[in-house]
Symmetry: C2
Subunit: 112 residues, 2 copies
Amino acid sequence: MLSFKRDQNKRTRSYVEEAFRLIQEKPDVVDTMILNNQGNPIKTSMEPNLSLQYAGLFEILRDKVTIGIQKIHPGDELLMLRVRTTSNEIILVPDGKITALVIQKAQDRFNT
Amino acid sequence: MLSFKRDQNKRTRSYVEEAFRLIQEKPDVVDTMILNNQGNPIKTSMEPNLSLQYAGLFEILRDKVTIGIQKIHPGDELLMLRVRTTSNEIILVPDGKITALVIQKAQDRFNT
């Protein structure tokens, strides 16, 4: 399962490369993308157009969740967003100034 | 873990009551809400105002995901949306004409 320790590591180029490599190596991971603070892809295993489509959608979702959760639970913070669809699972994990977006084969045996 | 079989059961009042009971009985579940096709709460363990806040936020998220995913993967369908925050985990599961929204204590040992 993805977990980013809340450390104070600067999100340097090598940090991004290492995070990308670690995620991409996980068995069920299909695609990986790292977004910068503005939500733009800075490292991706997907072709550009698909990267931008996912980045655009998940940045909107992230903003909506962050704002909505703050209104309901002031001080509460988004740690992970998971979207399970019939074809796969997409996971968004904010990590300081970067965000990891991972597409993986669905793990749970969801009855469809 | 929440799983709704894709059967053809009509979402009758007794179906809603039973689904609500089954979910609410699960060990880590804090609150449960069932929404109708318009996204309005029809059964909830939360007080009305909080129910409407969660229903409002998660209906927006659900619409955004459903439309966004269709553009990226025509034919792909939302099965579950999970939002993990510092305080808990909120799970949305569409089930025919109703939607279950569950707030549970976070299961995963996420490093914060």
